[in-house]
C-alpha cells in the first residue's frame, strides 16, 4: 500500500504544472544537492586532520565528542527552517479502503526522504570509522553511528511534530523559538555547557557502547509521539475554530485609498484569518528581535558596517521576504475572481507596493529603537529601508509574476503544507546577493560610501515606482494565463 501511495506522490510531483517547465531549475537544484553532499563527505573524511590542526595536542576524539550535541542543536534549527512536512492530499484516501495506520505510516516514511537526514551520516560516519574504530574497536564505532542515526531520527520527528502543532496553534512557534533561545543563551552565558555535557556523554559511550540504546529509545519515543499525534489528528482540521461567531472588520483609515486601500485591507485580513500566513506574520514580529543578534557590540566597536548593513536590510525587509515569497499565491484560491472582477491589474500590483512600503515604514519606526546602541545604526537602517522599498519590492513582485504554484491557506491542514518552488530559491539568492553586489564596489572607497550608494539607489528606484508598476504589469500579462492555470491546479 505504501508503495502505491509513494507512486501517487511521485506522479503528483512530476505531473504538477510547475515540474516540466523548470527543468533547468531542477538541474540547478540537483547540482546544489550534489555539491552539498560531496562537501559533507569531504568534510567528514578530512575532519580528522582538521581537528588535529585546530586543536593541536588535544585528544581529537574528545573534541569530536564535545561537538556532537552542538551539531544536533544546530540541526534542529536548520530543520525548522528547511524541512518540509510531507504533503499528501489526504481527503480522497480517507474514504477509500485504506487503514488509517497505513496512511500515517506512509506519511512518516515519505518524510524521511530528505537530504537533511543524509547529512549527519555523511559528516560523521567517516570520522567514526577512521578515528574511533581503530582506537576503540568496531562495536564502539557501531554504537556511534547508531547514535548519530538515532539523533537524526529524533530531530526529524520532533520537528515534524512541532511544525504540525504550530500549524494548529501558532504559539508553538513562539515556544519553540523561546526554548531554543533559552538553550543557546544558557550555553552562551555558561549556565551550563552543552559541549561539556556532550563530552561527558559520548566519552562514556567510548567505554560503554551500550548507552547508545538510550538515544535509540529517544528516537523511538519521538517517532511514537508523532505517530499518535497524527492518528488523533487525521481528520481535516478546519473544525478548529468553528462555532465561534465571526465578526466583520473594517479598517477606516484605508477608506481614503479607494481600491488600493480595499486590496490592502484584504491582505491584512488574509494574514490575520488564515493559519499559514498568520504564522508568517508572527514570525515577522519575532524576527524584529534579530537586531540583538546582528547588531553585536563587538561588530559596532569593530566598525563592521558592511556586515551590520546586511543585518539592517534583513530586519527592515523581513515582511517583504516573508509575505512576498508567495505574494500572489496567497490569493490563489480566489485569483480567478480577482482577475474577472472590476479591478485593473495595474491597481492590484500597485497595491502590493503600497502594502510593502507601509509595513516597511512601520518596521523602520519600530526598529529605530536599535538606534539606542549607536546613532549610526539609524543611518544603516534608513539606507536599508530605502533599498527595501525601492528595489527589493520590485524584485519580489517580479518573482511573483513567475511563480505558478497554488497555495492552500484556507484549510490550514497539516497535509496541505505546500513546499518551496525552485523559483523561490532563485529569489532568495537574488535577495541575499543583490544588496552585497551594490554595496561591495563602493565599499572599496569607504564603507559609508557603500551604505550611501545602497540608500540612494533605493531612493531613485522608489521614485520610479510608477514606472516599475507599468513594467511589472506588462510582465504580469505575459504570464497571466500561466499564473491562473497554475493557481487553479490545487
Amino acid at each position: 500500500m505504501i508503495r502505491i501511495l509513494l507512486s501517487h506522490q511521485w506522479k503528483s510531483f512530476w505531473r504538477s504544472r510547475s515540474a516540466g517547465k523548470s527543468l533547468a531549475m531542477q538541474i540547478l537544484i540537483g547540482f546544489f544537492t550534489i555539491y552539498l553532499l560531496v562537501s559533507a563527505i569531504g568534510l567528514g573524511v578530512f575532519l580528522q586532520d582538521l581537528l588535529k590542526k585546530i586543536y593541536p595536542g588535544q585528544d581529537i576524539i574528545k573534541v569530536f565528542c564535545g561537538f556532537i550535541l552542538y551539531y544536533f542543536l544546530f540541526d534542529i534549527l536548520i530543520r525548522f527552517l528547511l524541512q518540509d512536512l510531507p504533503t499528501l492530499t489526504i481527503q480522497p484516501y480517507l474514504v477509500q479502503n485504506i487503514r488509517r495506520s497505513q496512511l500515517i505510516r506512509f506519511l512518516n516514511v515519505r518524510s524521511l526522504f530528505t537530504i537533511l537526514n543524509l547529512l549527519p551520516l555523511l559528516l560523521f560516519t567517516p570520522f567514526t570509522i577512521m578515528s574511533i574504530g581503530p582506537v576503540y574497536g568496531f562495536p564502539v564505532a557501531f554504537a556511534f553511528v547508531t547514535s548519530i542515526l538515532a539523533m537524526t531520527v529524533f530531530n526529524h520527528f520532533l520537528i515534524l511534530y512541532i511544525k504540525r502543532k504550530s500549524i494548529i496553534n501558532s504559539w508553538w512557534l513562539v515556544m519553540f523559538f523561546v526554548v531554543m533561545a533559552v538553550f543557546i543563551a544558557a550555553d552562551y552565558f555558561k549556565f551550563f555547557s552543552l559541549s561539556h555535557i556532550s563530552t561527558i556523554f559520548f566519552s562514556f559511550m567510548l567505554a560503554h557502547s551500550w548507552v547508545c540504546v538510550l538515544l535509540v529509545g529517544m528516537a523511538i519515543l519521538s517517532f511514537i509521539n508523532n505517530y499518535s499525534f497524527l492518528l488523533k489528528n487525521l481528520y481535516l482540521e478546519d473544525i478548529v475554530g468553528k462555532g465561534r461567531k465571526k465578526e466583520g472588520a473594517e479598517y477606516a483609515f484605508l477608506n481614503r485609498f479607494g481600491a488600493i486601500g480595499e486590496l490592502i485591507g484584504l491582505d491584512i485580513k488574509l494574514i490575520l484569518r488564515n493559519k499559514r500566513p498568520r504564522s508568517i506574520g508572527i514570525l515577522t514580529v519575532i524576527f524584529l528581535f534579530y537586531g540583538f543578534i546582528f547588531y553585536k557590540p563587538e561588530f559596532i566597536a569593530g566598525e563592521k558596517w558592511g556586515f551590520l548593513l546586511f543585518g539592517a536590510v534583513f530586519i527592515t525587509g523581513l515582511f517583504i521576504i516573508n509575505y512576498g515569497q508567495f505574494l500572489f499565491a496567497w490569493q490563489s484560491a480566489h485569483f480567478d475572481g480577482l482577475m474577472a472582477s472590476n479591478l485593473a491589474v495595474k491597481t492590484y500590483i500597485k497595491s502590493k507596493f503600497v502594502l510593502f512600503t507601509a509595513v516597511c515604514t512601520v518596521t523602520l519606526l519600530l526598529t529605530s529603537l536599535y538606534g539606542l546602541l549607536t546613532w549610526k545604526i539609524l543611518v544603516l537602517q534608513l539606507a536599508a529601508y530605502l533599498y527595501n522599498v525601492g528595489i527589493h519590492t520590485v524584485i519580489t513582485v517580479y518573482f511573483a509574476t513567475r511563480s505558478y504554484k497554488a497555495l492552500d491557506i484556507s484549510r490550514g491542514s497539516a497535509f496541505n503544507y505546500q513546499g518551496m518552488g525552485a523559483e523561490k530559491w532563485i529569489y532568495s539568492i537574488v535577495v541575499f546577493l543583490l544588496p552585497m553586489a551594490i554595496y561591495l564596489p563602493f565599499s572599496f572607497i569607504n564603507a559609508w560610501a557603500g551604505v550611501i550608494a545602497l540608500g540612494v539607489l533605493g531612493l531613485i528606484s522608489f521614485l520610479l515606482q510608477d514606472w516599475w508598476v507599468d513594467i511589472l504589469t506588462k510582465e504580469f500579462f505575459k504570464r497571466k494565463y500561466n499564473i491562473l492555470t497554475g493557481f487553479r491546479e490545487k
Binding site: L266, M339, A340, N342, L343, A344, Y481
Partner: protein, 231 residues
C-alpha cells in the same frame, strides 16, 4: 454586444471549444446546454480571459477581451468558489465588491435588502466566514456579488445545480426582473432543461466544443432539447 469568431481551445490535443462564429446581442439571455465536456465552462473562462485561446477572438463592445481590461467594469461572473474570497464574511465581501464598483457601504446595504428572501436568512449576519457557508449559500453570495455590480453582461455557471428548489425558482424570477429592468445580457449554463428554457431567450446546445444548435426559445424548444438528450 459580444462577437466570437474562429475561437478554439484544445487541451492535450483534444478540442474543448471550437466556435466558428457567434453573435450575441444586447439583452439576450443565453442558455448554454450540453453534456459534461461540451465546453461550457471553458467557454465562460475564455469570455473572462482566464485562459488563453489557441486561436480566434472574443470581442466585447468592440474590444478584444484578451487585449484590454475595458470589459471588466460591465461584466460580472460567478463560476465557482474561486470567485469568492473565502476568509471574508459575506458582508465584507459585498462591501469589497461594492468598493471596486464605486458603491458606498450604505448603497450596498440598501441593495442587499432586496435579497432578504433570496438569502433566506442564512447568508447575512450569519457570523461565519464565506468558507464556512454551505455550497448553496456560497452560490447565493456569489450571485448577489455579481448583481451588486449592476453588470451589463452576467455569466453564471450551473447556478441551479447547487441551489435548493425554492431558491432556484426565486433566482429565475429575480433574473427575469433584473433583465426586464436593466436589459442585461445573461449567459447561463445548466443541465436543468426546464429551468434553462424557462429563463432563456436563446439556447445554445454544445457538443464537444461546437455549438450544434442555436435556438430561439419558444414552446417547442424544451421538446427539442429533450429529444436530443434522450438515452
Amino acid at each position: 454586444m459580444i462577437t466570437v469568431s474562429n475561437l478554439a481551445k484544445a487541451y492535450a490535443g483534444k478540442i474543448v471549444v471550437d466556435i466558428a462564429s457567434l453573435q450575441v446581442n444586447d439583452g439576450e439571455i443565453i442558455g448554454l446546454v450540453g453534456n459534461n465536456g461540451a465546453g461550457k465552462t471553458t467557454f465562460f473562462r475564455l469570455l473572462l480571459d482566464l485562459i488563453k485561446a489557441d486561436r480566434g477572438e472574443i470581442i466585447s463592445k468592440e474590444k478584444n477581451v484578451a487585449l484590454s481590461e475595458d470589459w471588466k467594469p460591465y461584466t460580472a461572473a460567478y463560476l465557482d468558489e474561486g470567485f469568492l474570497i473565502d476568509y471574508l464574511t459575506p458582508e465584507e465581501y459585498f462591501y469589497f465588491v461594492g468598493k471596486l464598483n464605486n458603491r458606498s457601504k450604505a448603497d450596498v446595504d440598501e441593495f442587499l435588502k432586496n435579497f432578504d428572501t433570496f438569502f433566506d436568512g442564512s447568508v447575512l449576519k450569519s457570523g461565519k466566514y464565506i468558507r464556512e457557508l454551505s455550497k448553496g449559500n456560497q452560490f447565493k453570495a456569489g450571485i448577489a456579488g455579481c448583481l451588486l455590480q449592476n453588470p451589463e453582461i452576467l455569466l453564471l455557471d450551473e447556478p441551479f445545480a447547487n441551489l435548493d428548489p425554492t431558491t432556484q425558482l426565486r433566482l429565475i424570477k429575480m433574473l427575469k426582473e433584473m433583465h426586464a429592468r436593466h436589459r442585461m445580457t445573461i449567459f447561463i449554463s445548466s443541465h436543468d432543461l426546464n429551468h434553462v428554457t424557462d429563463v432563456s431567450t436563446r439556447i445554445l446546445l454544445m457538443e464537444k466544443g461546437v455549438i450544434i444548435k442555436d435556438l430561439h426559445t419558444n414552446q417547442d424548444t424544451l421538446k427539442e432539447l429533450e429529444d436530443y438528450f434522450k438515452v
